[in-house]
């Protein structure tokens, strides 16, 4: 029983990080239909921004994190502005955009490895590394912060999309770009805004995992893959779906270890994903996936 509780808790912590990544990726995919795998690079960049701000500029941790989130948002905007928009203006199809995105992910990851070495870099987290014991469950303070950040991020994003003018514009574009255009929404601007928000909400995930186990150049690929699985499982265009999908995946990975040897972790998640998506292609809450959407 203790083991089950511990695995659930660990799963929720990991799930929180998956969720932040999936919320950002899902928002961007749901709105722009860009299969933005370079989101993984933004996730990784956020960690390096935080590291650089703390270690090279000597900023306190909180300030370094704030700077990193802003810089990640700016990176998202720049990717859309300098890569996707020019491609779209020239009439590139979505597959071209996807390949460009994949290229960008590889390029950024390898550049980071050249500049910072592929070896993990440690950030100073001080007090946050301390242990917390909740009955039979052992976590660190940082883990609680991760869960809290995901919960806060989810509600903040929902509130932004529902109640702010900009959020409503994003939702309008997401549900029908043509309709949004006719009511006077500038699609390019709405896309840029989506990239900023989507990148900013994912940045904490990259930073939090880096604070826990070190800053590394190649982690983003795994995360963006899991995020896309979570979003497709949850239903494209659905924010609660992305959140649930991510938590489900992480719990599955961790609870699966309970009875199955741990080297099968990713086999379990992708196996379940395949079965799930064949049985219910539209995911938990979402619209139906169309082949043209990639």
């Amino acid at each position: 029983m203790d083991l089950l509780l511990q695995l659930t808790a660990t799963g929720l912590v990991v799930g929180s990080l998956y969720a932040l990544c999936a919320l950002g990726w899902g928002l961007i995919y749901g709105t722009t239909l860009h299969f933005h795998v370079a989101h993984g690079a933004v996730f990784t960049l956020a960690a390096y921004f935080a590291y650089a701000a703390q270690k090279l500029l000597g900023l306190p941790l909180a300030a370094a994190i704030a700077v990193a989130i802003l810089a990640a948002a700016a990176s998202g905007i720049l990717i859309d502005l300098l890569v996707y928009q020019p491609l779209e203006r020239r009439g590139a199809i979505r597959t071209t955009l996807f390949i460009a995105s994949l290229g960008l992910l590889t390029l950024i990851e390898n550049l980071l490895a050249v500049v910072f070495t592929p070896d993990p870099l440690r950030m100073e987290v001080g007090w946050l590394a301390g242990p917390v014991q909740l009955g039979p469950v052992f976590l660190t303070r940082l883990h609680l912060v991760s869960v809290a950040t995901a919960v806060f991020g989810y509600f903040a994003l929902m509130a932004f999309l529902k109640h702010s003018r900009w959020g409503q514009a994003i939702r309008a574009v997401s549900s029908s770009p043509d309709m949004a255009r006719t009511v006077g929404i500038d699609l390019r601007r709405a896309h840029l805004l989506t990239y900023a928000v989507g990148s900013a909400i994912t940045a904490p995930a990259g930073i939090l995992i880096a604070m826990d186990v070190g800053v590394e150049p190649y982690r983003g690929t795994t995360f963006v893959l899991l995020a896309s699985v979570a979003v497709i499982m949850g239903g494209i265009g659905s924010i609660p779906g992305a959140m649930l999908g991510a938590l489900f995946l992480a719990l599955l990975e961790n609870l699966g270890v309970w009875k199955i040897p741990s080297e099968w972790q990713s086999t379990i998640s992708f196996g379940v994903f395949l079965v799930f998506i064949v049985l219910r292609p539209r995911g938990i809450f979402g619209r139906k996936i169309q082949s043209a959407e990639i």
């Binding site: 203790d2 592929p118 242990p131 014991q133 961790n254 080297e263």
Partner: protein, 376 residues
């Protein structure tokens, strides 16, 4: 970006040598050898030591006039713990650089390049990998004991002296990790211990909490870590963080700077191969690289020196010609080499034997409790 300055340097050098005549030290073509090491990735700390050791040896050899008057030039390649990268590096060394000899490291990469070495008659010398499968391989010499020697010693010590009757294992999912775990099961069982559970993990993973939680639930008196590199410190820290209070143990693999610095690893029970941190070598290393040397620095220093000795013999015998075959024959006929840590004798299985020390990690060093002498 990188090639332009180096091309300029080469050009400048050419101009300088053209105007000043022949280079000062060694005559003739340099002797090129390879070194395929973990320069990046989870084992990068070993790479710093291995490369530093080989570099120091090459510098000393060249300062003393080279090998039979020829300069020694070591070409470093990175395998990042990946066997396929090691194979590419070995092919390049054999086909492009035409080396007669290469230093190698890690079990899986070394096993992967051994067929290429044997086929092309290039001697490879491994000072780091310890899988039992590295023994008795053509053209491969190990100036390190295979892991079963160390695992046997620690398994006995843990079960008999420390009275730790049952163990749970966390195992790196690669040649070295699995091989060490397999031997541990056999030897610990023979010494009266009982292995309750085993969890495998990826060498490049950074989160072992799920596996550790599962092992914790199984109980046991001991967590045996059959992994290496920076993994070990993360496993130790995360195990303590999950409230695992049982002793941890591992072989000399675990002795990297990350482990010495880790709070969780304090008190870890380990084997250690002979290395004197107060030696002249260690002082020189620290001065040159601004970091403490370790056992593996000496290993690659020694391996490079052994090559120089064998190459000199081979060239003497074959009228100055140097081939991998000649180096192999010279190693086989010499067998015993003087090193800075005493005499090294290659056994019939192409491996070495050494004294094995056991003790506990305390404040960044190993508190040795017992030494088990090598049987030559």
């Amino acid at each position: 970006m990188r090639t332009i300055p180096s091309a300029l340097c080469t050009l400048a050098l050419l101009v300088v040598t053209a105007t000043t005549g022949t280079p000062a030290i060694a005559q003739g073509n340099p002797i090129k050898i390879g070194a395929i090491l973990p320069l990046t990735g989870s084992g990068a700390s070993y790479g710093v030591w291995m490369k530093g050791g080989a570099e120091m040896a090459a510098e000393e050899i060249n300062a003393a006039g080279g090998i039979a008057g020829r300069k020694l030039d070591v070409i470093y390649e990175d395998h990042a713990a990946d066997a396929s990268k090691a194979v590419n590096a070995m092919r390049r060394l054999v086909e492009v650089e035409k080396v007669p000899f290469s230093l190698t490291s890690y079990s899986a990469p070394t096993l992967a390049i051994q067929p290429i070495a044997a086929q092309n008659k290039v001697v490879i010398m491994n000072g780091g990998g310890q899988s039992d499968n590295l023994a008795n391989k053509d053209y491969l010499y190990n100036n390190i004991p295979v892991v079963s020697n160390e695992v046997g010693v620690i398994a006995d010590w843990l079960a008999k002296d420390k009275k730790l009757a049952s163990a749970v294992l966390i195992v790196a999912n690669d040649e070295a990790g699995r091989n060490s775990a397999k031997t541990f099961r056999e030897r610990y069982g023979a010494a009266g211990g009982k292995v309750l559970a085993e969890e495998q993990v990826a060498l490049d993973a950074t989160d072992f909490r799920a596996q550790l939680a599962k092992l914790k639930a199984r109980g046991g008196d001991l967590l045996y870590i059959s992994s290496y590199g920076r993994n070990v410190s993360i496993i130790a820290d995360q195990a303590r963080e999950l409230g695992m209070t049982i002793p941890m143990a591992g072989t000399s693999w675990v002795l990297v700077p990350e482990t010495f610095k880790s709070k969780g690893a304090e008190g870890m029970l380990v084997t250690k191969l002979p290395y004197d941190p107060g030696s002249a070598f260690a002082r020189k290393f620290k001065e040159k690289y601004k970091t403490d040397a370790g056992f593996f620095a000496v290993q690659y220093y020694t391996a490079t020196k052994i090559f120089a000795k064998a190459a000199e013999e081979a060239m003497k015998k074959h009228g100055g010609a140097l081939t991998g075959e000649g180096v192999k024959d010279a190693i086989e006929s010499t067998r015993a080499f003087d090193t800075i840590s005493g005499k090294l004798v290659f056994q019939a299985n192409h491996g070495a034997v050494m004294d094995i020390e056991v003790g506990a990690l305390k404040g960044g060093k190993v508190d040795v409790e017992k030494v088990i002498k090598a049987a030559h």
